[in-house]
C-alpha cells in the first residue's frame, strides 16, 4: 500500500491507539487513527477539546505523557537519508534515535508560548541549546544562528532579543520565538499544536502568515492541530476531522467547506456563527456533549449526537473511513449504503475490537 503512494510521503501514521490507564478506567484518547503527511503540505487536524488531537501529536513524537501509552499502531518517518522509513513507534520513548528525531526531523510548537518557554532561561539560551544539541555547533556560531532564526520569524533587533526572558516579550513575540526554536534544525515536519489559541486575533493572523511564509521558504510539512475552523480554512491544504480519537472525515480544505459529508463535520460548520446571520437567529449547536472519555460507544461513536441516526444500524455497526469521492474519505454508514466492501484494514480493526469486548 505504501508503494502505491506518491513518493513524497514524509509521515505515515497508521492505526495508532493511545490509551491512558487511569484509576477510573481506560481513556481511549486516540483510537485507531490513520494520517498521511506529504512534503510541503499542511494538514489541519480539527476537533473539539478532548477528541485526541494533541495526543496524536505526542504519539507521532513517541512522547505520550504518563499514564498514557501507545498500545498499537505505527508511525513511519520517511527521510532523504534513508531508503526505508524509520518506525518511530518501535523505539523506547527515551531512546537516543527518537531523541535525535525530536527537534531535528520533527519539531513541535505548543499552545501557550508563555508556559512552554522556561521562565528562568533566556530565549537565546533555549534556542542555542536546541541548535547545539542537534548540529553540534560552537557556542558563538550557534548564537549567530539563533539570532538569524529570530530575524527569520520577524523579531526585530534579534541579537538583543536573545538575552530576553519569556516574560519580557509580548504573546506574539513569544510564539515567534517558539517557532524560531522549532525551526532551529531545519525540520522536515512541524507539528503545531493549537499555535494561535492563546493569542489575540490580529496576532493569530500574523502567526499563521508567518507559518505559511516559512513553509514556502523552507518546504516543510505542517501538521496544524486546531479546534478553529477559520484557522484551517486559511492555511491547510487538507483537513482531517477528528471525533473521539478517530478521523471521521478527511479531504481537501475546499471540499470540506463546500461539500462536507459527515454529519459531525456538517454540524461543526453550521455552529460557526456568520456575520450576515439574522440577529434573531439562535446560534446552532450540535446536540449533546462530548461523551464521557471512559465510555466506549458501540457502533459509530457519533451516533448518540447524530441527527441522521439510523436505529439498529449506527449503534451496532462501526463505520470505516472509506473513500466516497476522489480524495474524500468519510467514516459514516450513510455512505456505506452503496454496498461498498470493507477493506482489509477495516476488517482487522473490527476483529480486534470484537476480541476486546
Amino acid at each position: 500500500m505504501v508503494n502505491q503512494e506518491k513518493n513524497d510521503l514524509v509521515l505515515d501514521v497508521e492505526n495508532i491507539h493511545v490509551h491512558f490507564n487511569t484509576r477510573d478506567g481506560i481513556v481511549r484518547a486516540v483510537n485507531g487513527l490513520n494520517l498521511k503527511l506529504h512534503k510541503g503540505e499542511t494538514v489541519g487536524l480539527v476537533g473539539e477539546s478532548g477528541c485526541g488531537k494533541s495526543q496524536t501529536a505526542r504519539a507521532i513524537l513517541n512522547m505520550v505523557p504518563s499514564p498514557g501509552t501507545i498500545v498499537d499502531g505505527t508511525v513511519r518517518l520517511y527521510t532523504k537519508e534513508s531508503p526505508t522509513p524509520l518506525e518511530l513507534t518501535a523505539f523506547d520513548p527515551e531512546d537516543k534515535t527518537i531523541r535525535r528525531i525530536r527537534g531535528k526531523n520533527i519539531a513541535m510548537i505548543f499552545q501557550e508560548p508563555m508556559a512552554s518557554l522556561s521562565p528562568v532561561h533566556t530565549i537565546g539560551n533555549q534556542i542555542i541549546e536546541a541548535i547545539r544539541l542537534h548540529d553540534g555547533l560552537e557556542p558563538a556560531a550557534a548564537r549567530n544562528k539563533a539570532a538569524d532564526l529570530l530575524g527569520l520569524v520577524g523579531i526585530p533587533d534579534p541579537k538583543r532579543r536573545l538575552d530576553n526572558y519569556a516574560f519580557q516579550l509580548s504573546g506574539g513575540m513569544r510564539q515567534r520565538a517558539m517557532i524560531a526554536m522549532a525551526l532551529s534544525c531545519d525540520p522536515s515536519i512541524l507539528i503545531a499544536d493549537e499555535p494561535t489559541t492563546a493569542l489575540d486575533v490580529t496576532i493569530q493572523a500574523q502567526i499563521l502568515q508567518l507559518l505559511y511564509r516559512l513553509q514556502n521558504e523552507l518546504g516543510m510539512s505542517i501538521l496544524l492541530i486546531t479546534h478553529n475552523l477559520a484557522v484551517v480554512a486559511a492555511t491547510a491544504h487538507r483537513v482531517a476531522v477528528m471525533y473521539m480519537g478517530k478521523i471521521v472525515e478527511e479531504t481537501t480544505t475546499e471540499a470540506l467547506f463546500d461539500d462536507p459529508k459527515h454529519p459531525y463535520t456538517i454540524g461543526l460548520l453550521r455552529s460557526v456563527p456568520q456575520l450576515d446571520d439574522d440577529d434573531q437567529k439562535e446560534l446552532w449547536a450540535i446536540k449533546g456533549n462530548v461523551p464521557n472519555p471512559y465510555a466506549t460507544v458501540s457502533g459509530c461513536p457519533f451516533h448518540p449526537r447524530c441527527d441522521k441516526f439510523m436505529a439498529g444500524k449506527c449503534d451496532v455497526v462501526e463505520p470505516n473511513l472509506a473513500e466516497v469521492a476522489p480524495g474524500h474519505k468519510v467514516s459514516c454508514l450513510l455512505f456505506e449504503e452503496s454496498g461498498r466492501k470493507r477493506d482489509a484494514a477495516g476488517e482487522r480493526i473490527e476483529a480486534r475490537e470484537g476480541e476486546g469486548k
Binding site: 527515551e94 531535528k104 505548543f110 512552554s116 528562568v120 526572558y165
Partner: protein, 328 residues
C-alpha cells in the same frame, strides 16, 4: 540587580532598629531585674543583704534609670565601641563571653543548613521524578519521622547509642584533652569529629521539611508545558529535568535559608543544652533564667541579626536565580 541589592540593604536598617528595641523589651518583660534575682538567691542561702550595696550596684549599672535611657546607652555602646554591656552574673564584658560561642553556633547552623541541603535536594528530586515508587515511599516515611521527632529526643537517642555501642560520649564539641587547648590541627580534626552528630541532629527536621518542599514543587514543575517543550526538542530526561524544572523548583529551596535558618538556630539551643555543646544556646538559656539582661539581650539581638542577614542572603540569591524577581 545592584539597585535591588542596595534597596534590600537599606530596608535592613529600620528592621534592625525595630529588632533591637523588641529584643530589649523582651529582656525587660519579666518583673524585677538581675539584682532582685540576686537578692532572692542570697536570701535563700541565708546571707545578710546589704541594701545600701544593692542600691549602689543598681545605680552603678544604671538599673534605676528609665528604660529608654538604658536602651540608648546599650545601643550607643554597641555602635560606638562594640561594647555589648556587662554580664552581671559572670562579672565579665558580654563581648568576651559571646565571642567564640557565637562562632561555634554559626558553624553548627550553617553546617546543618548545608547538610540539610545536600541531602534534601537529591532526595527531593528523586522522590518527585519517581513519584509513588518504593524509594519515594521510604523517603516520605523517613521524612515524616524526621519532621515529627523533636531534636532533643534525637539528641538523647544519639547520646545513648554513642555511649552504649561505641563507648564514646556524644556530648560536647571537643575531647577533654583539647577542651582548653589553643587551636591546632589536632583540635580542629577533633572538633570536626564531634561536629557530625550535632549537625545531623540539628539538620534533621530542616532536611525533612526541605525534602517535602522540593518534592512538592518539583511535582508541580514537572507537569509544566516547558518540560514537554524540552522533550520535543530532543533533550534527554536527565538534562531536561535538571535544567528546567529543578532550576525553577530551586527558588523555594533558596528562600528556605530565610525560614529554616531561625528554625535551626532555635533548634540548636535545645540540642546544645542536651549535648552540652559550648555554643550560645546554653548560655542564652542561663542568661534568661538569671535575668542577666545585657547578656541575654545581646544574644537575642545577635541571633535576630543573623536571621535578618540570612533572609537578605536568600533574597539576593533568589534575585540572582530568578530573572522575574531581578527585573521586577
Amino acid at each position: 540587580m545592584t539597585a535591588y541589592i542596595v534597596r534590600r540593604l537599606l530596608f535592613i536598617i529600620p528592621t534592625l532598629i525595630v529588632i533591637s528595641i523588641i529584643s530589649f523589651i523582651i529582656i525587660r518583660l519579666p518583673p524585677g531585674d538581675f539584682l532582685t534575682m540576686y537578692m532572692s538567691t542570697l536570701m535563700e542561702e541565708g546571707a545578710e543583704i546589704n541594701h545600701e550595696l544593692i542600691e549602689a550596684l543598681r545605680r552603678q549599672y544604671g538599673l534605676d534609670r528609665p528604660a529608654y535611657v538604658q536602651y540608648s546607652r546599650w545601643i550607643w555602646g554597641i555602635l560606638s565601641r562594640g561594647d555589648f554591656g556587662y554580664s552581671f552574673e559572670w562579672g565579665q564584658p558580654v563581648r568576651a563571653l559571646i565571642g567564640e560561642r557565637l562562632l561555634l553556633t554559626m558553624v553548627i547552623s550553617v553546617g546543618s543548613l548545608l547538610f540539610a541541603w545536600s541531602i534534601a535536594l537529591p532526595v527531593g528530586i528523586y522522590s518527585a521524578v519517581k513519584q509513588y515508587s518504593l524509594p519515594d515511599y521510604i523517603f516520605t516515611f523517613l521524612g515524616f519521622i524526621g519532621l515529627a521527632t523533636p531534636n532533643f529526643l534525637l539528641a538523647i537517642i544519639f547520646m545513648y547509642i554513642a555511649s552504649q555501642y561505641f563507648g564514646t560520649g556524644a556530648g560536647g564539641l571537643f575531647s577533654p584533652e583539647y577542651a582548653d587547648a589553643a587551636w591546632s590541627f589536632g583540635k580542629f580534626v577533633d572538633f570536626l569529629k564531634h561536629l557530625i552528630i550535632p549537625l545531623i541532629i540539628v539538620g534533621t527536621s530542616g532536611t525533612a521539611s526541605l525534602i517535602r518542599i522540593t518534592r512538592a514543587n518539583l511535582l508541580d514543575e514537572l507537569k509544566k508545558p516547558y518540560v514537554e517543550a524540552a522533550t520535543a526538542k530532543g533533550l534527554s530526561k536527565a538534562r531536561r529535568v535538571l535544567k528546567y524544572p529543578v532550576r525553577v523548583a530551586l527558588n523555594p529551596f533558596v528562600s528556605s535559608i530565610g525560614f529554616v535558618f531561625p528554625q535551626i538556630v532555635s533548634g540548636e539551643i535545645i540540642v546544645s543544652v542536651v549535648l552540652n555543646l559550648p555554643t550560645t544556646g546554653p548560655l542564652l538559656l542561663r542568661a534568661l533564667l538569671a535575668q542577666d539582661m545585657y547578656l541575654a539581650g545581646s544574644f537575642v539581638l545577635m541571633l535576630a541579626v543573623m536571621t535578618v542577614f540570612g533572609v537578605l542572603l536568600s533574597d539576593i540569591l533568589l534575585a540572582w536565580l530568578d530573572p522575574r524577581i531581578r527585573y521586577d
